[in-house]
Symmetry: C4
Subunit: 227 residues, 4 copies
């Protein structure tokens, strides 16, 4: 029903972009973590990373062309795409969308809304947390006076931030590391909102359902109060 | 109505499993905390712990058999049971279910939904927090450079984590201790979601009730204060 | 309408109990903070505190008598009252109820439900936070190796805990101080639930109200998405 | 319809006040951050700041006059205005209101309620966070034994507080700095409430919509993804 050229392009390229996202993330991860690997392998990773980025740029340019809009307007209406183009580490979240699209086309039985919200929030947070811990490690582990020295430290810091617990036994000290940490905090706030919002709406649904059943037990519930 | 062999097995064995869970937790607690106890008593605790674990394994195998499913499918559809089988410290949460089942069979007046959510969340969090503080203490108290040296420290750390406050005056330093702490954080997030969600849905219910009744009945809503 | 002897007792004694609660809190605060005051004044404060406590005990005993219940059952059904009897610092929260009762009798225009929830949550948290910071200061300021040395430190610590931020630049080190801090954390969780729940139900109400208005603007809202 | 003199005054002066708010904030920011600037420029900033404050005072006095109320009553019913008059750093939040008013008058397509809540919460938090970090930096950076020495530190501290993460690697040590931090914490709690509440009510709306439509339309809900 939405058979414009743009829609067709997006339908056909979803999987390509998802693969490119994974390649980008994997290449970046190997570059950052595998500093003891042979130089040739590290160069290959860099090449793969750049190639994936090129794919993102081509996709962005083609979509602008097919949308028939001018650059300024396109950039403004697709500011999220523009941001993700500049910071491809955010891209893995798009994999969640691609996965959803594939599943929908195959007409697989979809999960309930709550399960989907929890699954997508969990998947997005895992991918963003992984990307964030990589970026943090890259920025911090060489800085003078840094707390975060191993990748394990970066993962631990990311977990404490995502849960909004924030012990502060480790903390970033470089400006870029702190910027990454602020991004991770924003993800943590969103995760908290997703968990809390899901719980709240689930409770309300259960209530609505219980309200429909025969209410023999209802007086019971309030008798306690006047006990 | 659900009188399959599997349902019958689960109905009859609920209490056995709940007892085994408590035995496991108690045995583990005595092992971890009672390091000054005579060796014979500590060996007995270890034996009880292993026996309880054996009960869990037998239950898992029998349920797979009664479900009539193959192993891979059973493991995938019962991934939570599988996880709990590997980490029996998570099992006490099942006691909440057993308690609920017993209460339902005796047709006791059940609490209102909000009271139940709060009660179950509180009970689960207490049990998981106890198990988590034991595991943390076991991992950390001997580690070089550790902050968490006494069991009281572990309990304090667990409380600050469950409330997502996270002072960070104490923090785990071993990889396994940090892994346990991440699990406790997840419980804290869930607890926060339960508290917030309950409050939110309770408020919405009160609103709906106030909106429906004639305004003369407004004082009614707070008669419980004057008991 | 609820003119049992118990209800009459509670109606007549609400103000007495509220005054006794304030006297208790004020006496305790002067004892804890005014350690440079003349001994006679401090003894007077102690006497007032104990007198207020005696009032609470008399009220508890009379209510048990008027309720016509046996002790075990009364203690179980009034466990919150029992807890407050043992820890009178929790009592000021009851002032909120007394204030509400007075206002209702005078038929003053009551605030909307949201305003009341925010006002009661804010008032309760302020009173509990004050009591908590006093208790923390009393436990900690003399302890060896303590961070919390002045009353200002205790207030700052209490604020960071109530907001669940928890910097950890200061942290209690005594077991009793930590127990008080855990209580403050629980208040913080409840406050967070109240803020979040109020916001969530307020938003839902606004939605419901907007949904009733003529929806000329509704298509506008979704045109953005397909932009 | 609300064409009282007061309403007309407020309609005409909204933009003037918004400009004065920005001037105040900009002047304050240059004063605090630009301590190496020539003295003449700094004096100009101070003059601008005071002029903007004078504008606020005039507006407050005129509005009292037009409201036809006496001072005590006006101060009580406009306590938020009074607070903002004394602490003009809080004023930028009013810009959000002015922006909303302008947009409404121009009949521009307004955002959906969720988008507006998110946008206003984000804008308010950014402005308050900026003002808070300036005030924190001013109070702390010269204090003996302070952690917060650069403006970057103050921004980082503000971000960790707004997200309620609170590492505590940096913490204010002066009483006024801590007071500012408590204000920032309150903003953080409100932000958390806004994020969580929005998510929760959005989920409930999606549920209601999915429940109403025939299931064939389910894919509709996510067409926006394939934009």
């Amino acid at each position: 029903m939405t058979d414009t050229p743009l829609a067709r392009w997006e339908r056909h390229n979803g999987v390509v972009l998802a693969v490119a996202s994974l390649v980008y993330l994997a290449g970046y991860a190997v570059r950052v973590l595998g500093q003891a690997l042979p130089e040739a392998l590290r160069a290959l990773c860099l090449a793969l990373t750049l190639a994936a980025w090129a794919v993102f740029i081509v996709d962005y340019v083609v979509r602008r062309h097919l949308s028939g809009r001018r650059w300024p307007r396109f950039i403004r209406t697709h500011w999220l795409d523009t941001l993700v183009l500049l910071l491809p580490l955010l891209r893995p979240v798009r994999i969640v969308q691609a996965y959803e699209a594939v599943q929908r086309r195959q007409n697989e039985p979809r999960l309930s809304l709550h399960a989907r919200v929890i699954a997508y929030a969990g998947l997005s947070v895992t991918l963003l947390g992984f990307a964030g811990s990589l970026a943090l490690y890259q920025q911090e582990h060489m800085a003078p006076g840094a707390d975060i020295r191993t990748y394990g430290d970066a993962v631990w810091f990311t977990c404490t931030t995502l849960s909004t617990v924030g012990y502060g036994d480790l903390a970033p000290v470089t400006p870029l590391g702190r910027l990454v940490a602020v991004g991770v905090m924003a993800c943590g706030l969103a995760l908290l909102g997703a968990v809390t919002g899901s719980f709240s709406s689930w409770l309300l649904q259960v209530f609505a359902r219980e309200g429909e059943r025969p209410p023999e037990h209802a007086p019971e519930a309030s008798r306690r109060d006047t006990d």
